[in-house]
Amino acid sequence: MKIVVLVKHVPDAQFDRHLTGPGNTVDRDESILSELDEYALEAALQLSEARGGAKAGNEVIALSMGPAGAVNAVKKSLQIGASSGAHLSDDALAGSDAAATSLALAAAIRHLGADSPVDLVLTGMASTDGETSLVPAQLAERLGLPQVTFASSLEVNGERIVARRDGDAHADTVEASLPALVSVTDQINEPRYPNFKGILAAKKKKITALTLADIGVDAAQVGAAGSLTAVETAEARPPRTAGTIITDEGDAGIKLVEFLAAQKLL
C-alpha cells in the first residue's frame, strides 16, 4: 500500500502567532510539525504495519509544502516512522490560499504516484494555522478521489475503506473505494513519539526535494498571483484584559449573579 501523508510546518500554537508582510501571511518562525498531522501519520503507520510494513512493500511518504524550514516537518515524520519524504518548496508558492495550495499539492501527489499509484492520501482534520479545513476536500475534488473527512476510526479491507465519522446529530459509518482521501480527527489514535532508533534511522531515509518545475505547475497558478482570494487588511485584536477577580468568601455565587444581572445577561 502506498500512502501519502500531508504534514505541515506551522507556528507553535503555544505561543503568540503573527501575521506579517504585504500579503498578511503567517509568520513561520518558531514552527513545528502540526499536532493534528501526527494523528494522520500514526494512522498511516498503523495501516502500513498491519500489512507487514516496508518489508511487504508498504510505503508511507510524508509530503510537506512550504519554505525551507518546512523540511523539518518531513524530518520529524521520518523520525516517527514514515518511510520517505518529499518537500515541495518554491519561492513562487509563498502566499498561496487554499485553492493554490490544493492545486500544488494535487500536482505533487500525482508526481509521487507516477511510478506506482498512490492508494491513500491521509491528512489531519485541519491545519492549526489556517484552520479552514478546505485543503483536504479541494485535493479530493482535484484528484477525483472520494473523500472521507473527520474520520475517528479507519479500516481498510482490500480495496474498501470503512470509517466512522461523528457529526453533531448523528454518527455515520462511511465507505469508499481506494484510492481515496481521508482526513482524521484527534480521536482516532494516540500518536507515537520518535524514539532513539527512529531518530537514527531517519538520517538514512530519503527526502525528495520538489520544485514547481518538477511537478509541472506554472508559477502563475500558485502563490499570491494564483490565489483566488486575497487578504486585504489585518488588524491585531486588542488583547483581552483581565477584569475583576474575586476570591470566594462564601458568597461568590451571589456576586456572580449580580455581575450577570449588571451585564444584562440574565
Binding site: 500554537a13 503555544q14 503568540d16 502567532r17 503573527h18 498578511n24 490560499d97 494555522d129 484552520e131 479552514t132 479545513s133 478546505l134 476536500a137 479530493a140 475534488e141 477525483g144 472520494p146 473523500q147 473527512t149 470503512v162 457529526g167 453533531d168 448523528h170 454518527a171 455515520d172 459509518t173 462511511v174 465507505e175 469508499a176 481515496a180 484527534d186 483566488l228 482570494t229 486575497a230 487578504v231 486585504e232 487588511t233 489585518a234 488588524e235 491585531a236 485584536r237 483581552r240 483581565a242 477584569g243 475583576t244 477577580i245 474575586i246 476570591t247 470566594d248 462564601g250 458568597d251 461568590a252 455565587g253 456572580l256 455581575f259 450577570l260 444581572a261 451585564q263 445577561l265 440574565l266
Partner: protein, 317 residues
Amino acid sequence: MAKALVFIDNPGAALKKSSLELLTIARSLGDVVVAVNGELHDDVVAALGAQGASALYRPSATDLDDYLVAPKAAYLAAVVAASGAGTVLLENTADGKEIAARLGVKLNAGVITDVVGVDADGTAHKSVLAGSYTTTAKARTAVAVLTIKPNSVDVGTPAAASTPETATIDVPADATANAARVTGRAEKPVSGRPELTEARIVVAGGRGVDGDFGPLEELADVLGGALGASRAATDAGWIGHDYQVGQTGKTVSPQLYISAGISGAIQQKAGMQTSKVIVAINKDAESPIFEIADFGIVGDLFKVVPQATEEIKKRKG
C-alpha cells in the same frame, strides 16, 4: 441585479436562526435565491418568501444525504450555473466548508471561511489565528463562496415578501459515482439544550469538574445555555467529544461564556476567546483563564456554581 445564493441543507420544519442569518446577508448583496436539499415543507417555502427569496431550487435526486458532501457540491455548481449567482453563502459547519471547498474548485471560485460579516461590495470580515487578528478578505473571482459563522448578524426581514419561483436542478449523473457512501447512521440523543456553536450562553467544564457535570448542567439549564467542555474533560470520558470547545473541538462565540474548572490552556482559549463576556471559576488563582476573564472567581466550583444557580432561580421567581 447581483444575485446571492443561499444553500440550506435539510431545512426541516422551520428555518433555523443560522439560515435566517445567511438570508439577511444575502439580501444586503442583491437578489436572493435559495438552493435546498432534502424535504421541503410548505411553511419553509412561505418563510423563504417572507425572507425575500425570488427563486427556490431543489435537486432532482433525493439521496444526496447518502453520500459525503461531493454530490451536494455538484448540485450547487449546477444551481450557480442556472441562477447566475455571483455569491454563494453556506453555513460554517464542517459539511458547509467542505461543500464550499469543492464548489470553489468546480467553479474556479475563491472560498472564504469563518466569515463574520460581509460588506455590500463582497468584502468579507473574519477573525484568524484563534481570534488574535481580524482580517478582511475578498475573492478575486467572478463567483465568491463564503461560509458564515453563526451569531454574525442580527436577523432581519425585508420590506416586501415575495413568492419564490421554484425549479428542479438536475444533479449531474456522475456526482455520486466516486463519492464516499454513508452505510450506517446512528442518531444521537437530543439534549434539549441549544446547539453549542449557536448558543448565546455556554457553560463549560474542565478537569476541575472531576467527572461530575451535574452542577454545570443545572446552571446551563437555568440560563438557557449550552454545555461545553475542555479537552481534558472529554479525554477523561466524562462527557462526549461533541461538547469539546477548543482548537480540536468547536469554536464558540457566545454572549456569555462561563468556564468552570478549566485552567485555560491556549488550545482551549483558541475556541472561546471571541466570546463577548467571559466568566471563570477556578480553585487555582494562577490559572491562565483569569488573564482573559471579565469576571473571575477563585473558588470551588461545587460551591459557587450551585449557589449561583439557586440565586438565579430565586430572582426568576
